[in-house]
């Protein structure tokens, strides 16, 4: 009987102990939910040890979180933070943990797991990211341009843009300019003068909520753009000068050194009028400093591959020919403009790609041929030479040329009037001058448009 009572009492003690342990466990893991305004949107936080914690999923719209147990890496607003993941909730909410905030290591609350979900302390996050935080609200301050300064150097000049916090930026070469766009920063339009010889002045403008900084990039000058993260602010540093390697795309320099290709087709007969005009035009252009190539120098026929290759490398490609057709009753100069898709698919793809300055430098639009044609027709007209235009699909090798390209038919030798004109040196000079002047005017205007430099 005594034995039976003793075992019952033991069972009671065991039951009570289990309930006590269970209650203690529940008390230890207890947390409360709270409403949180996170970067302007409603969210939910939990309170652990008197501090607010937000879950990984709630924070992911604001920062990038990468879990690398037993640490978690948080990147955003130009900062990089590393939190240890402390599995003890109570200990994580104390200041006994070492947390890495950019380059400094501080004692602060750390990350923890609640029910398998990662939670991060909002006060430590705000401290590391430069955000404003008070209980129930986590605010990301707008980035503002706080200061612009410059420094002249021996072989580089420096422009420093101070921002209240880090924001993304892009850099782009457009002709002779370096354009740095700082996203999400308002700026007043202003031109800054410096004492440097490589960046004598630069412009800051506000465009669609972004700050755009346009700096001159002289020939032979290189550049670098980098940011320096400091406590409470970020500096964007731009160095320009010959002391830096020039890593500018070749395409950006192309408009200033264009290749003009003249393509004289065999004219037949004793008078090679197309070659005469091509040589005369090339001479005029070369004297003016332009780079000119002819697809043939003698009466020999032109290899197709060579013509195509030169067409692909050209900024201006002009085929010179004479018209012939048995029984044809036609005379005069005709300018044939290519229409429709180019035969080179890569040219079509670039034309569809948009109007980025580098794309335009690589492949021009059909408008280039139109502009050069109009200039040439004007020059021919001013010399008393009447000319007609005709649009033709699938022209060769103009369809391979990425920029202005057309064929100029100098006349029809089977017409007595044209035969006389084609044999006349005066006519050759007039056509050559018209060609050279129109090409030079066109390329000069094109270089100005693409590089922004006269």
């Amino acid at each position: 009987m005594n034995v039976h009572l003793r075992s019952r009492s033991r069972l009671k003690t065991l039951g009570l102990s289990a309930v006590c342990f269970l209650l203690l466990g529940v008390a230890g893991a207890q947390y409360a939910f709270s409403q949180l305004k996170l970067a302007g949107s409603d969210s939910q936080a939990i309170i652990l040890g008197g501090a607010e914690y937000a879950s990984q999923s709630a924070l992911e719209g604001v920062v990038n979180i990468t879990r690398q147990d037993p640490y978690v890496r948080v990147e955003g607003l130009g900062h990089e933070l590393v939190f240890p993941i402390d599995l003890d909730n109570a200990r994580a909410a104390t200041n006994y943990n070492s947390v890495q905030l950019d380059s400094s290591r501080v004692k602060a609350r750390s990350a923890t797991l609640v029910g398998g979900t990662l939670y991060l302390p909002l006060d430590t996050l705000a401290r590391g990211l430069g955000a404003q935080y008070h209980t129930g609200e986590f605010v990301i301050p707008p980035s503002t341009l706080t200061n612009v300064s410059s420094r002249a150097g021996k072989d580089t000049d420096r422009v420093v843009i101070d921002l209240s916090r880090a924001v993304p930026y892009t850099e782009q070469i457009s002709g002779n300019s370096l354009i740095v766009t700082i996203k999400g920063v308002n700026a007043n339009t202003r031109i800054y003068a410096t004492q440097g010889s490589f960046i004598p002045k630069f412009q800051v403008t506000g465009q669609n909520g972004n700050a755009v900084i346009k700096l001159p990039l002289g020939a032979g000058a290189g550049y670098r753009v980098f940011k320096v993260i400091r406590p409470g602010s970020v500096r964007l540093v731009i160095d320009i000068g010959p002391g830096l390697p020039r890593s500018v795309p070749v395409l950006a320099d192309l408009p200033r050194a264009p290749l003009i290709v003249l393509d004289p087709m065999p004219a037949g007969g004793s008078n090679d009028v197309t070659l005469d005009v091509a040589r005369s035009t090339a001479e005029l252009l070369s004297k003016a400093g332009w780079q000119v190539k002819l697809t043939r120098q003698a009466a020999a026929s032109i290899p197709a591959a060579q013509r195509e290759d030169l067409a692909r490398r050209s900024q201006v490609f002009i085929t010179l020919s004479v018209g012939r057709f048995p029984g044809g009753n036609r005379q005069g100069i005709t300018l044939y403009q290519p229409v429709g898709d180019a035969s080179a698919q890569i040219v079509n793809s670039y034309r569809e790609a948009g109007s980025d300055p580098l794309v335009s430098a690589a492949v021009g639009s059909g408008g280039e041929t139109k502009r050069l044609s109009q200039l040439l027709l004007g020059e021919l007209g001013s010399r008393g030479l009447k000319s007609a235009t005709q649009q033709v699909t699938r022209m060769y090798p103009s369809g391979e040329a990425p920029h202005a390209a057309f064929e100029l038919e100098l006349g029809w030798p089977q017409s007595a009037t044209d035969q006389a004109a084609l044999s006349s040196p005066e006519q050759t000079t007039k056509v050559s001058e018209a060609l050279a002047l129109s090409v030079a005017s066109f390329l000069k205007a094109r270089a100005t448009n693409l590089t922004g430099v006269e």
């Binding site: 057709f325 036609r330 033709v392 699909t393 064929e407």
Partner: protein, 184 residues
Amino acid sequence: MLRFLRIIFTPMNIIGLLLLLAASYAKQFVSQPPPQPPAPRLQLEEVQPQKMVIYFSDKDVTSYVKETRNVNVEGQTPGKLAQAATATWVKGPQQANALRVVPAGSVTPQVWLRGQHYIVNLPGSYAKLNYGLSGEHMIICSLTRTLLERSGQDVSFLVGGKNVPTLLGHLNISRAYTKADCPD
């Protein structure tokens, strides 16, 4: 001797001999070449006049002159109609306001039709024609329009049986031509 014959001509030996002879005959029978079938009788297709629209050049070599011609064609297949139309195109126009596109006596290009696609093999002599851009355009486009007048989707050109980028140096013929490439 009788004993010897009795030993040789046993029933089994006679049956074996008969089987051997039967097998030999069977082998000879199956080894015979099949009988030559009779040659098919030559049946000429009926030659009938067909109305065809042939494209030539105008005097300025800028636009087409269309001629509707009655062409005698043997058979009705699209391939034969296309070849006949090409031969008529080579022969030249009958109207005074139209110009022949290739010189008189030129070789007629060969034409094949595969599905909706014509393939034209221009003779090598065509690549030696001393034409300007208008002339080359007229050769390619008048023939394209002539062939696509009845049916077909596009026309591919070979020169002397080869794929070449251009015929006379002014037009790209590396891809097939459609009606859209040769507008009026």
